[in-house]
């Protein structure tokens, strides 16, 4: 880990994360076809393409402001339930990190606290809890691992396992809940998109020692 995160660093981070999700759009859509309306990949792609379209402006801002702009962009562009959920996540991350010194890298404690607050905000937005087969089922264990000192590889492994652990769950929120028991046996698309984001960011933070599964 470096001790500064300047505009170039922020740019690389955002660009890589966005590209990773966009590259997996077909996979995310296929997951959503099985237990939803088959648009999660399209939705996330639209959101992150809009982020990329503003990449220079976002990267030029301090990290908290940039995160808020990403959040607003996701809110406005995604279109699915995932838009306000991921939007709220990024908006709250930005708000929680507001005191960060310019170009500073947030500490593990700062990141863990920010992600904790963001998870609370996502729960409120979705009227949802952990265990309901949503992106929260990846975000929550990753936050716990982060707070507990996990390194990049461990965070990646945690996200991967958490996404896989949504397979046997019955969906209680979102469209997949319409399927009742038939939602069992499929990975939640939002859990998978969260895994991709986290493992990509972890790989960068860990000096590219890990890679998105």
């Amino acid at each position: 880990m470096t001790t500064t995160l300047d505009a170039a660093g922020r740019r690389a981070l955002i660009e890589t994360a966005a590209a990773a999700v966009i590259a997996r759009a077909d996979e995310l859509t296929a997951l959503d076809q099985a237990i939803g309306d088959g648009d999660h990949g399209l939705n996330m792609k639209r959101g992150f393409e809009a982020v990329l379209a503003d990449l220079d402006a976002i990267a030029a801002k301090p990290l908290p402001e940039g995160l808020k702009q990403i959040g607003t962009t996701m809110v406005m562009k995604v279109g699915g339930a995932s838009g306000p959920l991921y939007g709220t996540l990024f908006l709250q991350l930005g708000k929680s990190l507001a005191e960060l010194a310019p170009d500073a890298v947030p500490s593990r404690a700062e990141l863990a606290a920010a992600l904790k607050a963001a998870i609370v905000a996502v729960k409120a937005r979705g009227k949802s809890e952990v265990g309901q087969k949503t992106l929260l089922d990846v975000l929550a264990p990753v936050q716990a691992a982060l707070a507990g000192g996990a390194d990049a590889a461990a965070l990646t492994a945690c996200a991967h396992e958490a996404a896989a652990a949504t397979v046997p769950l019955k969906a209680i929120r979102g469209r997949a809940s319409f399927l009742g028991d038939r939602s069992i046996g499929h990975m939640d698309p939002g859990a998978r998109s969260s895994e991709i984001l986290i493992s990509t960011l972890a790989a960068i933070a860990g000096g590219n020692s890990g890679a998105a599964a």
Binding site: D37, D39, G174, R175, S177, F178, L179, G180
Partner: protein, 130 residues
């Protein structure tokens, strides 16, 4: 196709009927027999027994057909249509007491999973959208 309950959407508005059917298709693709109709015999907002009968025929399944309606007239016309069906079909068509759009998506999702007509109807009638 006949191993899934069919879904018929009967709205006063042809636009609502079509849009609700689009939303159903997005969830279940082409695996559930689906038909929709809207508008009165003069082309205004209303429903038509003739086009309801045709829609039941298009969505016909040996497992039965669940009809989703919006307001009173759509319900009364659908019930009238059911009585005009050949006798061996009458018992296998039901009007669901459920919201037309949300109910259609629910009912079709349930039908997609292979549920019986009664299960499809109950799911549409029980659940309100999460």
């Amino acid at each position: 196709m006949n191993d899934k309950v069919g879904i018929v959407i009967v709205s006063h508005s042809p636009d609502v009927a079509k849009g609700a059917a689009d939303m159903v298709r997005q969830m279940v693709g082409n695996e559930v027999p689906l038909a929709f109709t809207g508008g009165d015999p003069g082309g205004g907002l209303g429903t038509s027994v003739e086009t309801i009968l045709a829609a039941i025929d298009r969505a016909w399944s040996e497992k039965g057909v669940a009809i989703l309606v919006d307001l009173g007239g759509a319900e009364t016309n659908s019930e009238m249509a059911i009585e005009m069906l050949p006798e061996d079909r009458q018992g296998r068509v039901v009007v669901c007491n459920a919201p037309i759009v949300e109910g259609a998506v629910m009912a079709a999702t349930e039908a997609w999973g292979g549920a019986t007509l009664d299960e499809v109807r109950r799911t549409a009638e029980e659940l309100s959208p999460a």
